[in-house]
Structures are given as C-alpha cells and as structure tokens.
Symmetry: C2
Subunit: 499 residues, 2 copies
C-alpha cells in the first residue's frame, strides 16, 4: 500500500470515528423528556373541565423587584362530583400542555365519583399557556431562569391554598397525583409541603435518576431488557443494526437508506436515522401498555412484542435495516396514514425546549449505554455536556442540586424515619422504572411494582380489556388513598373533640 | 365655655390623639428582632473556632445569569472533639454575626466531647461578614431580595453536603441546632431537608407566630404576665406609667423628662422614652434567665423580678416615671457604667436593617397589645404596615408565604403523621414561647417546656448556679439526641447487612 492508500485508510478511519463519535455522546444529549413528546394525539378528557387562570408570582424565593411579577397560570377544574369538604385531587402538571396530561389521566375522573372529589389539573410554569413572559418566555436564561421544579412546587402550594380559601373548603384533604416528571413533583410536593397535601400517588417517577444513585446505564439496559424478553432474536437484530447503519454514510449509502426508510426528503446523514430508530424503541418500551393505547402515538397492546414479532417474521437473511425500519414503522405509522417519514426532523423533539432547559440546569440525569444494551455503547461526558449547556443557554448545570434539595441518596434510610402517605407506582416495562422507588420504605411509603406495567399505566382510563393485575393495582391505590382520607377525617374529628 | 374654650379642648384632644396615635401603631412597626440586638457584649466562645468561608450560590431556586453569582459565606468550625464518622452538630445561624451566636451557644461545646462531635456554626447570608454584595448588600431590594429564609436553608444544605464530602465523612449524622429565628431555621431545616439532617433541636423557635395561628396579642400578654407574676404592683405601675409619660409632651414636660431619664441630650418627644422603656421591659422578659447572664446586656439572675423589686421598693406616692426609669436602668445600666442615656438613639435597633427587611417581606408576625397587657393598647394595621414596607424597600410583604412554605396551621395534625426527630424547647418566661410548639406532637416530635425558662436558656453554657430544672432539661435533650444518633447508626448497620 502506497502513501495514497494510507491516506485513504486514514480518511476512512476518521469518518468512521465521526460516525461513531456521535453515538458515544448521543444519548446524554437527548435527555429523553419523560412525557413531553410533541403531542401528536388529540385525545379529549372524558369529562368536561373548566379552564381557569391563577395570578401567580414569578419568583417565590426572592424579593427582588422583578420577583413579584405576576403571570397567569392555567389550571383545569371539574366540580361535577364534588361536595364541599370532600377531597381535592390535584394533578401536579409536568412538562407540557395540561390538557394533554388531563386527557391521559383518566384514572382521576374514573375514581373521583367514589370520593366526591374535586379535580384540579395545574399546568407547570413555562409550558402550555402558562408562560410567565408570554412569547418571550423562552428567549434566554433571563426569562427561562424561573423554570425550575422548586418554583413549580411553590406555584402548586400557593394556588391550592388560594383555591381552598375561595371554595371555603380549607378543611378538604388534598391528594397529589402525578405521572413521570409530574410524579416526581407529586412525591416532592408531599415531602416538602405535607401541610398542603395529605398524600401523593407518584406514578413512574424516576426520583432516583440523579447523581450516582442508580447506575447510569439502567435506562437503556431496561429498554434492551424489554426487547430481549420479547425475543432474543429481536434484541440481537436491533443491537447489530447500528453497525449496518453506520456503513451507509456514503452518498450512495444515504440514497439507499432514504429508500429503505421511505424518507420524504433525501437523507444527509445516518445520524438522523439512528435518532429516529432510537426514539421508536425507547418510546415504545416506555408505553409498552397491555392494551391498545394512544398516549404518545396510537399503538397496539404490548407494542414491544408486536415490534419483535415484525422483526422475527422476516427471513433471517433480510437486511437488518429493513427489519428495524419495519419495526419502527409500527411506532410511527400504526394507523397506516404516513406515506413517507420526515426522518430528519428529529424524533419529534421540537417544541421541547422547556425540558431541554430543565435537563441543562437541574434535571441532570446521566445516561450511558452499556455493552449489554442493544444500543451502541456510550459514555456520559459531563464536561462536554456542561459546555454544551453553557453554550446553548449561558448557564451551567447544577448536577448535584436535585439530590441536595430533594434527597434520593439512601432514600430508604431517610424516609423510613421521616414522612408518610406516599405511593410510588412503577411498571417494570418502563425504562424509567429503574430510577423509581421499587421497595416499600415504611408502612405508609409504599412501592407498587407491576412486572407488566409501563409508563404510568395506572393513570390511564380503565378499559374493559385491562388485565387483572392492572385492575388490582388501581384498586390497591384507591384503597390506600381511602385510608389516608379516612385517617385525616378521623384526626380532624379527634382534634375537634379536644378543642 | 366660649368658642375659645371649645377650640382649646379640640387642640388638646388632637394632641392627645397624636400622642396615642403613635402607640397604637408602634408595636407592629418595631418587629422585635428575635435575637439581633446590636450586640453590646463581647463574650468569647469557650473553645477555639477556625473561621472559614464557603463559595456559596446567590440564588438556589432560579437559573438566571445573576443567580449563579458566588459570595463567601462564613462559618466557624471546631474539630477538637471530632472523630471521623462521628456526628456533626450544625448551628443554623440567625440574624447577626455568627461569632455572637457561637459565644452564646455554650451548650454545643459543652456536649460535643460526649458525642465526639464536629461543631459548625454557619453564618446566615446578609449578616456578619456573609455579604453577597459586599458593602452594597443593603443598598436596595435588588440586592436584599436574596435575603430570605429559604435561600438560607439551601445555603446550609449545600454547605453541609460539601463539608462532609471534603471531610470524607458522608456517613456522619448531622444534627441541626438553632435558637430563636435560628431555631425556626433548624426546625424547618429538619422538615425540608431530612436527608441532610437526622434531627433538630429548635430552642425558642416561634414558628407559629404567623398568620392567625396564635393570638396577635400573645407576645405582649406574655411579657405582661412575667411582670404580673413578679408583682402585681409592678405590673400596675408600668401599665399606668404610659399615661403619665404621654402627659409630658410640652416643652417643660420634656425638659423634666430629660432630667428624670438622665438623657445625654435634651428630649424632643415622648415617643423615644416610650420606645426606650418598652425595649427594656420586652428584652428583660425575653432574657429572664435564672442566673446572672450577659446575653444582650449584663443582667442579674431573674432580672424581671429584680426590676419589680426596684419598683416595689419606692414609696407608693413616688412618680411612676421615676419608678419605671429606675427599673429600666437595671436593663441599660446593670454594670453602673452609664453616666447618661442616649434615649433618642432608639432601642439599640441600629444595624438591624437585615431583620427589618425580613420582617417587611416574609417574616410578617403581627403583634398587638390587648387591654390586659401592661402596654398601651394597639392594633395591627396591615395596610399601613404594607404601605410602610413598600415605601421603605419598594417591595410588598407576603404575609401568608411562611405558612404556605413551612406550614404551621394545624401543625399537630400535620406533623403527627409526618416527620420525626424534632425537639421544640421553650421557656415560658420568654414571650416568644407563645408562638412556639408547646405540646408533644408525636413520639419523636417533642416539646420541652420549662416554666421558669427564658429565651433559649438551654443553649447557654452550663454554670454551677443552674437550677435543677435546667440541668434536667439539657440532660433530656442530650438523651433524645443520643437516641436519634444511635438509631441512625443502627439503621446504617442494618442496611449494610442487607446489601
């Protein structure tokens, strides 16, 4: 081989490095938003909610002249089952339009009549219509700086207190509910504001996904486990498809790839295809529900199993890219409406700058891909991550802040001696479950774990097709909440006696 | 009576109204700082503390570009009794130089050897040398806005975590201690950061002195009760002295008053004398310690009783102003060093703008004087108070924020089902005790109440003259803290076994 040969080899190595350099830092950059996919579904809540706006304080924790600026925080309210003095069920809104969370939390309208409960879904600041600076809210760190979880919790506390006063129902017990990041907020709300809420049901809340509490590879290991459990062949095909994909970086390869993936426009890089596939697998694993559902997208029951059936149905010699494309199509095109795919638009992450901001500031959840996963191995380079955030927003992440403010390390030791009335529910199909509380901590801090459950499946409306374990899970949750409420009323009665 | 007579009567009525108008709004304006009198004593701590500074974040709860500004927070540390892994005792500093609180909390050096404890006294932001904006810290709400209790608690959490890491002693249990406002912080710290501190001893912490939780007149009623208990005549003399005082508003009267009160300069109004007396009675009641002490000023044992002895020793016909002056002199001049009194300099409240700011923003503790008290009756006019604050600082108080953030209403109901490892100690001589937790809430949220105790008397160094009840109180506190620590180590051992 002459000099020219060496040079070509070097070029090839360089390009290969680039190709693989992206995946090695890809996953930490994506920061899978827990629930905030651009909401492609237009599901309506089962009951009617009235929309209201509360004049909320911009900054609860300082008294600078700017901090007392008022913005209008949206909340949805339903009083049809309510009796004065009866419980108030509050959903602590997460990273998106509150309508979407309302529509996807049929559990609350389902159980409200039994409790004569008032239902309130509060939108998280900086999402939906709850924009502290209107259209300028996302302009820069000067405005976005007020988008933090502690401010959101204080919003909830202030709003609930005012609402109870306006309803002349100060004695009503409040129970907090939240799923995903909303579940983290519900749990933290109970821990920080026990005088405002008597208990919380935190569904699929990965409150331990910070610092070094759970292994950084746990999320992708869990996604991989779902696919492996469905079919070892399926897992292997996906795992090996990435190498096949990276080989298509040439102009010809990309043209071929554009055909295979039925892209609406010609592809310019393999990375967009990788992201597109990656998202399909991750989100399908999250929503691996036991019934047909339309959470992020319409999908059949147990969609991971369905994806694997698609992969396994191919002849072994078929190209792995054909197989994974067919599998991903289940996620992107279950309703068969798509003629082509906008692969280079990214994995539906537009409009998500709120979560991206949160991930770049306090919600630092390091993620890596281990050799055991079905994804290309990747590390988490904190320095690079912090530099990127600084470049993007002008502020630096505070990677240890969440565990300083809310705890998490040695959670069992801490909470077995402190706190009460918390349910952490997790479905093990959901990769976020690995950052959740999976064991009972005390007699009143309870973990409900379902092997076949996925991302806050308990919060979905009951359907006739629900498996027994899901019916049982919801029943158990309702029973525990009943206990909290009964205990609260008994305490109140007792106290009145002594007054 | 002719027209001239009516006119004179009206003038008199008008002047009387003015004279009494001031007291009716006087008390709410003073906002007695809990512990932050200009520290006239120069007591040294019994053991040597090293002074350190921690690079602290300006704003923990937002991510604006300004929020990540660093300031240097002072803390004092003593390692002489410490063994790695042993407990860390943290004093959550209040509104003043940390040296002063360290010097006045001999209880911690007293008990540290038994526990092999590390001692850390952390200065509260915006006090002492912990000035986020240096000499400009008190310029305006732009800078002072960051002086809030929640920021202070977050400071403590961040500093303690970093300290433990630097000491490689992450497993050391941390116990929080605080007196007065520092006690409020210690209690809230346990409630908000149970993952950072295993328990807290909050001495004389009036966490219920907000909103309508305790009657607004309770503080001055308690001061009055101290004097009434010492001597009914004493109480009556003081109660009646105010009317006598108000009659001296004329030029001649003021000249006479200047003589009676041995003022260094001629008086211009009676209100300064009233403030001067008022402070003497209030502070003496707070520090009605069972032994000679030098907390705010040098005073004999049971100074309220001593004051009343002075009043009672006068012939009944002596002017009440002579009597109350003599009584107040005990407070201002126990060491007999003063030749004259700077009465118009106000009640030693200079240099206290930090607490004044806090009282004008979140620490809104309404106070009134009832007819039963020994002070002139007064109401709390919130509108006037808020207008004054707005005028002074450009920001409005948030009178319901403390109870929203930290609770307090129905505290027994809330905390009997939530939380643990808290001691609330209160001495009933101390008027702040009426805003404290005075009954056990659960088996591990304990109230220690001493009839003869005064403002965080348990935190003072043990002396040979301490009465039995005080020796017993401290012993009980040490025993409970021992239990917390033993339980913590037992939990740790147990957890290791299961790992």
């Amino acid at each position: 081989m002459g000099l020219k040969g060496v040079f070509l080899l070097l070029i090839c190595l360089f390009l290969l490095c680039i190709a693989f350099a992206i995946p090695t830092t890809f996953s930490p950059r994506v920061h899978y938003p827990l629930d905030s996919l651009k909401q492609v579904t237009s599901l309506k809540p089962k009951i009617h909610f009235e929309t209201r706006f509360y004049p909320q304080l911009l900054d609860h924790f300082t008294f600078t002249p700017k901090s007392s600026k008022i913005f209008y925080q949206k909340y949805l309210i339903n009083e049809e089952y309510w009796r004065n003095g009866a419980p108030i069920f509050v959903y602590t809104g997460n990273e998106g339009d509150i309508e979407w969370f309302t529509a996807n939390t049929g559990f609350l309208p389902d159980i409200a009549p039994k409790f004569h409960a008032l239902l309130v879904f509060i939108e998280h600041r900086f999402y939906g219509e709850s924009m502290p600076f209107g259209n300028d809210s996302y302009n820069s760190a000067e405005t976005l700086g007020y988008l933090t979880s502690q401010q959101a919790l204080a919003d909830y506390a202030v709003l609930i207190r005012s609402l109870k006063q306006n309803l002349s129902s100060e004695a009503s017990p409040v129970v907090a509910f939240g799923g995903s990041y909303g579940g983290m907020l519900a749990a933290w709300f109970r821990l920080k504001y026990p005088h405002i809420t008597i208990g919380a049901l935190a569904s699929s809340a990965p409150i331990l996904h910070f610092d070094n509490i759970v292994p950084w590879s746990s999320f992708y290991d869990a996604v991989s486990q779902d696919f492996k459990d469905a079919s070892l062949n399926c897992f292997k095909v996906i795992k090996e498809s990435w190498t096949e994909l990276e080989q298509e970086f040439s102009e010809e390869g990309l043209a071929e790839l554009s055909k295979t993936f039925r892209t609406c426009k010609n592809l310019h890089s393999v990375s967009s295809v990788r992201d597109w596939l990656w998202s399909a697998f991750v989100y399908t694993s999250m929503v691996n529900y036991p019934t047909e559902a339309n959470f992020m997208r319409p999908l059949p029951a147990y969609p991971v199993q369905e994806m694997c059936k698609i992969i396994d149905a191919f002849a072994p010699e078929t190209s792995k890219l054909d197989k994974v494309f067919a599998a991903a199509s289940l996620y992107y095109n279950y309703s068969h409406g798509e003629k082509c795919f906008n692969v280079e638009n990214g994995p539906d992450l537009h409009g998500l700058s709120g979560w991206d901001w949160q991930a770049c500031t306090e919600m630092v959840m390091p993620m890596t891909c281990s050799n055991q996963s079905m994804f290309p191995p990747s590390e988490f380079d904190y320095e690079e991550f912090a530099t990127d955030c600084k470049k993007k927003y002008g502020v630096s992440p505070r990677p240890h802040w969440i565990t300083t403010e809310f705890g998490g390390e040695r959670i069992e030791e801490v909470l077995k001696r402190f706190g009460s009335n918390l349910i952490f529910s997790n479905g093990m199909q959901d990769p976020w479950s690995r950052g959740g509380v999976l064991r009972n901590i005390s007699t009143s801090i309870i973990a409900i774990v379902t092997e076949k459950g996925a991302h806050h499946v308990d919060f979905r409306s009951a359907t006739k097709d629900d498996p027994d374990w899901l019916v049982e899970q919801r029943k158990q949750e309702v029973e525990i909440i009943h206990q909290w409420i009964n205990e609260y009323y008994a305490d109140m009665k007792q106290d009145k006696k002594f007054m």
